[in-house]
């Protein structure tokens, strides 16, 4: 698959399942020696409680702006060739991909650093929220650090 350096940024917020092969293809270039793909996936259990499904909601315009700023900052800090971030919103079953972050670089250490920084920062600043639909029938928005909600214990920061 001979392909020149495109250097395009891909930012998407989608309602359908994320096509991880397409995300990988978007960052592929002949100049890359390393490709890093991180997938956040919806897991069945969080601190002992069982999750049946999740719903993700976003503030679309701002989320896209923020993701664009993250990519711009990452490109200044690391020599990225390709960079793609796709976040899914809507109703997700367990085991599905909620977010995909992919970067390609000439050398691998920059790929690991940039990939980790992108997902860490995304989780801190991008206006997207998830609601856990517990298997006992209850549903609850996840707001890390928010202590005045109905069940403060469930809002300790947790990460995927």
């Amino acid at each position: 698959m001979h392909k020149g350096y495109l250097g395009c940024d891909v930012i998407e917020i989608v309602n359908e399942p994320i096509d991880t092969a397409a995300v990988l293809a978007q960052v592929a270039t002949d100049e890359a020696g390393a490709v890093l793909l991180f997938l956040g996936t919806t897991r069945a259990g969080t601190r002992g409680r069982r999750t049946a499904s999740l719903d993700y909601e976003c503030y679309g315009e701002m989320a896209r702006n923020q993701l664009g700023e993250l990519e711009a900052v990452a490109r200044k800090r690391w020599p990225l060739l390709g960079c793609a971030i796709v976040h899914r919103v809507g109703h997700l079953k367990i085991g599905e991909v909620s977010v995909a972050v992919a970067v390609s670089t000439a050398h691998r250490h920059a790929a690991f650093e940039a990939g980790q920084w992108l997902i860490d920062t995304l989780k801190e600043v991008v206006p997207i929220w998830k609601k856990e639909n517990w298997s006992d029938g209850e549903s609850q928005w996840v707001h890390p650090g928010l202590t005045t909600s109905v069940r403060p214990d469930d809002n300790a920061r947790h990460d995927g």
């Binding site: 909601e57 503030y59 997902i119 989780k123 206006p127 997207i128 929220w129 998830k130 005045t148």
Partner: protein, 81 residues
């Protein structure tokens, strides 16, 4: 001036709607908007001290001034990813 504030996640659920319009004096800051919102929508009072606000899709601070026609959004702690 009339300002529309978008509500998301727990704020939307607590308020029972996804946006609210407030009549605010020209030159109002986010701090003043936050106080008004708590008074107008009491169910939000408990979470408002811990949410951020955005103006025109950018994070704002308590000192940021709201202009007529700005899109303001209430941003509870995020949990994407």
């Amino acid at each position: 001036m009339n300002v529309r504030i978008r509500l998301f996640a727990v704020a939307k659920d607590l308020a029972g709607r996804d946006s609210i319009s407030l009549e605010l004096p020209a030159g109002s800051t986010i701090a003043q908007l936050r106080a008004r919102l708590a008074a107008e929508v009491p169910p939000l009072a408990g979470v408002l001290p811990q949410v951020l606000f955005a103006i025109g899709s950018e994070y704002a601070t308590d000192d940021s001034v709201v202009s007529a026609g700005s899109e303001v959004a209430c941003i509870p702690p995020v949990s994407g990813g």
